[in-house]
Symmetry: C2
Subunit: 228 residues, 2 copies
Amino acid sequence: MAIGVEVDVDRMEAPPDVVIRRLPLYARSLRYLLQEGIESVSSQELGDRINVTAAQIRKDLSYFGEFGKQGIGYDVRKLLQQIEDILGLSHEWPVALVGIGHLGAAIARYEGFRQQGIRIAGLFDSNPEKIGTMIDDMPILSFDDADTVIKEQGIRLAIIAVPAQRAQEVADRLVMAGVRAILSYAPTVLQVPDGVWVRYIDPVAVLHSMTYYLARDVSGARQNDPET
Amino acid sequence: MAIGVEVDVDRMEAPPDVVIRRLPLYARSLRYLLQEGIESVSSQELGDRINVTAAQIRKDLSYFGEFGKQGIGYDVRKLLQQIEDILGLSHEWPVALVGIGHLGAAIARYEGFRQQGIRIAGLFDSNPEKIGTMIDDMPILSFDDADTVIKEQGIRLAIIAVPAQRAQEVADRLVMAGVRAILSYAPTVLQVPDGVWVRYIDPVAVLHSMTYYLARDVSGARQNDPET
DNA sequence: GAAAGTATGTGAAGTGTAGCACTAACTTTA
DNA sequence: TAAAGTTAGTGCTACACTTCACATACTTTC
């Protein structure tokens, strides 16, 4: 009985999540470089721009292959393309946006999404007064219809911008409909089944983590930290 | 010649930044517990709510003192008070908000700030058509006046919600005026002098870090991660 | 009031990430 | 064409954070 079967040693180790979170920053910076007409960059130059060490960038990229040329650096256009491929940005991702209050409406109007592979595919709210009205050229639909829309369009990504008390219920329904990744602006931790990704944006929490240092007059020497 | 003078061994080690970032989550959860009328909680129960291990919570708190009772747990009201004190939330923090576009306006209107010790003390924009108009009861001021207002009110915290191309210039002027901590919604890494804290909110980057997993159908087992 | 049960605080072990420093590969200079 | 200069990729080391597991302290039960 062959217990302890040899595992394929050559299998590439899965990149840590911290690395995955940095890739979008690299991609963003590369886009800016291209806009500036810069076509080649070293890990050092790239790192200086985003306050990450050159070694870190090289290490991070090494999880996915070899992209640079020794003595030269990286071809900006090619590296950007490759990082976008890694991130799955070779096609557009339709996203359901739930909760069209002040914040939700601002998110719906934000042009930065579409340009970066994120397409707001549906706006949902539960307030009857809002349903049927438009944000730019997009109609606000009833959240009751979210299930149908998500299934029809194969939506797997959602943004939640509802009050904290409603967030869990909304998340539950989204997951049931097929959503597998949620970006939540609601200030509460969501409980979701295995297989579903959740990330949070909470400006209050971020501010509070800085008041800690301000209250103590601790200098922010930790600038080396472009964390989202 | 006394080289290597003994350093005070009892000096408490500075808590890591990751710990500081979790404290606001603990505080938030404790507030919800209070709202539910729950006055006592164990590290286990608190951890279950926010997907953090009980040991982590206890270790984190141990950087600041002893707050619980063995065999019992924590007094919710008291622990909340103490965490808020640690975070410097015993008084209100005036904040300058720069960039009153869709997003900036939504931030200005968000009620979650005031309730949590953050007071939007001034709205600034450079668009002459906006200057002088009101958001709720607050006038939009010229960004040229930011320097004066920041100095007069002793503002040390700012939120930037301007386009990426303008963010660095805005940050520079804020820092010159006395701002020491910046929350930036602009999708670019800011260069600031030592002594200034910067944190970022970038929904596009967050979404892109999730498309990576969706594109690969990797299950989000890493739920143990209520990171902002 | 002793025994069983619960839960904190913490030293130590375990895990994971970042940075160093070197080799190899490529370009530019002389 | 050789030497000098640049920079990617990477094994190893160092550090930081997380988790474990236990001693301690308090409560509840019988």
